[in-house]
């Protein structure tokens, strides 16, 4: 078995990821994504828990109009299920599968939990405004040279650099 800390050469990994993205566009005409699956998940949950609410709220109606059928039967939901499988397989091979709350030794688990949930909340919200996240908007947008995608990419990384200083205690 490989040593635990060994990761793939980043340029090789990037090249493979780029080829995968290219193949994805070639086959399906669309790029990779992730946050869209979260959106499908939320819509599906709301529609089944509170169908009445979903049927009189603007957002869910707009979603239903754009996406016919069961929200969970979407391309991105299947793709993200694949990500779970693929990442798990990779973790197994490289001996990295372990239940663990990872955080910097300088912060407590509670701090990490709060930060992770807030960070997730912000990312979830931002990905809706940005019409996609790092995968769907930034990476795939760059591949097809979309102005919107590239601007979102610049904003994500620019924003992260701008705010990084204020949250350095979480990581350093």
């Amino acid at each position: 078995m490989m040593k635990k800390s060994e990761y793939m050469n980043p340029y090789l990994a990037g090249f493979l990821l780029g080829l995968l993205l290219l193949v994805t566009i070639f086959i399906t005409g669309r790029g990779l994504g992730a946050s869209g699956a979260f959106k499908s998940g939320v819509v599906a949950a709301v529609s089944s828990i509170a169908p009445a609410h979903a049927s009189d709220t603007h957002y869910y109606l707009e979603y239903a109009e754009e996406h016919k059928g069961n929200p969970l039967k979407s391309w991105l939901v299947f793709e993200v299920m694949g990500v779970l499988i693929g990442a798990f397989a990779s973790g197994l091979i490289s001996n990295r599968v372990k239940l663990k709350l990872e955080h910097s030794p300088r912060i407590t688990s509670t701090t990490r939990i709060i930060a992770a949930s807030f960070g997730g909340l912000l990312f979830g919200l931002g990905s809706q405004l940005g019409r996609g996240c790092t995968s769907g908007s930034a990476l795939s947008g760059m591949a097809v040279l979309s102005t919107g995608g590239i601007i979102t990419m610049l904003a994500i990384f620019g924003g992260a650099y701008a705010f990084a200083y204020f949250f350095r205690k979480l990581w350093l």
């Binding site: 070639f26 299947f78 779970l84 790092t134």
Partner: protein, 397 residues
């Protein structure tokens, strides 16, 4: 021609493809080290630029691949999903995501990847993301103004900047390479030692050189579509091109005969076409002869395609483009639509008839001049069906 969905790969099979692509996606992300927040935020603090290396290498690879596939006519770039540009929500959404990144340590794709190998912080991040989407959905009336403001359409970055596609690709690539070199230096400074894996070796130089040579030769050649269009406007080229011809009489006969092995392609303007269109004809532009829809149209076996325009020269141009795209069985209508009008639709019996053959021809034309306008009129009532065009793929998040 690609994309393969929905014609070659159906929508159901596409979901299986999604699963397989997802598996590869997850595997690569995890192998690259994207399953730990410590590595992911490293680039914002200067100690680990793995994310930047993987991200830019992937983006550049895919971008050059997409351009090259489009360039060589393998992929119809008009059918692939291009993210729309809503300038304000792209900027504000991006900034919020950036904040989420340094606070949470993940982005959605990487959080799924990390959760898969048991990172509890990643699972919490995912739960938070669901909540974030839910807040957006519930507060949509408040966000909608921002969400839909500043719509620029679906532009490409090189168009927005007023550059050529190839020039933009070169700029991006140079930018990425400079970023790779600079961040390696920053990393070394912050960590006090260089990363032995990343010391450039000769193999990298070799690979980089090969890629540069290939892409330069490829992009220096004119783009295929505009090249063909240019040649098709060249008189010398057209003069030496001798397509198959169909006479007005044969065309009229086959229309009256309701010949199913005949497909009329009309290259006149939309207005001309609306005013008068022959039964079963399709209105096209020269550009329509490229791309996936053309491949579909011309895929019918044993069909004669008759190209129609006001003059024969314009028909010849279209036929030339069709031939360059590999489409056969194309005929041009002798003397063009103008000739067809004169000989058939507006036929007047000449006072002088030279011989028997002419007499027969005129007799036929006289009949056709009554029948064809009737068929045209009948057809006009029927032509309400919409044109079936391949739709752009839907994507995004």
């Amino acid at each position: 021609m690609a994309p393969l969905v929905p014609d070659i790969i159906g929508n159901e099979l596409n979901l299986v493809v999604a699963l397989l692509i997802g598996i590869a996606f997850g595997f690569i992300l995890e192998q690259a080290g994207f399953s730990t927040s410590k590595k992911l935020v490293g680039l914002f603090y200067g100690y680990d630029f793995t994310v930047l290396r993987v991200f830019f290498t992937a983006g550049i690879t895919a971008m050059i691949g997409v351009i090259a596939f489009g360039h060589f006519g393998l992929l119809d770039l008009n059918l692939i999903y291009v993210n729309p540009t809503y300038i304000w929500s792209a900027i504000v959404g991006g900034l919020i995501m950036g904040l989420g990144f340094v606070v949470g340590g993940f982005c959605p794709g990487t959080s799924v990847c990390a959760a898969a190998i048991g990172k509890i912080d990643a699972m919490i991040f995912i739960a938070g993301s669901f909540l974030g989407v839910f807040i957006f959905a519930e507060g949509y009336p408040y966000f909608e103004g921002l969400y839909k403001s500043g719509f620029w359409g679906y532009p490409h970055m090189f168009e927005t900047l007023g550059m050529s596609q190839a020039a933009f690709a070169v700029v991006m690539t140079v930018f990425a390479v400079v970023a790779f070199i600079a961040t390696t230096m920053i990393e070394k400074k912050v960590n006090g030692k260089s990363n032995p894996e990343l010391v450039p070796v000769r193999m990298y130089y070799g690979l980089a050189l090969t890629v540069i040579v290939i892409s330069l030769t490829a992009f220096l050649m004119p783009e295929r579509q505009s090249d063909i269009l240019n040649r098709s406007s060249n008189e010398a080229v057209l003069n030496s091109f001798d397509p198959m011809k169909m006479t007005a009489d044969e065309l009229a006969y086959r229309i009256i005969d309701n010949d199913r092995k005949l497909q009329i392609m009309d290259f006149r303007t939309q207005d001309d076409f609306k005013q008068l269109n022959l039964p079963g004809s399709e209105n096209l532009t020269y550009e329509n002869l490229f791309g996936k829809d053309a491949a579909k149209t011309f895929s019918r076996k044993n069909v004669d395609y008759v190209f129609l325009a006001n003059t024969e020269d314009e028909e010849k141009k279209a036929a030339y483009i069709a031939r360059e795209n590999g489409y056969e069985n194309v005929y041009v209508l002798s003397d063009g639509m103008n000739g067809f009008r004169e000989k058939i639709i507006d036929f007047r019996m000449p006072s002088k008839i030279e011989n028997r053959h002419e007499a027969d021809t005129y007799k036929f034309r006289e009949k056709a001049s009554i029948l064809i306008p009737e068929l045209i009129k009948e057809n006009k009532d029927k032509v309400t069906q919409e044109k079936k065009e391949s739709k752009r793929a839907l994507g995004g998040c």
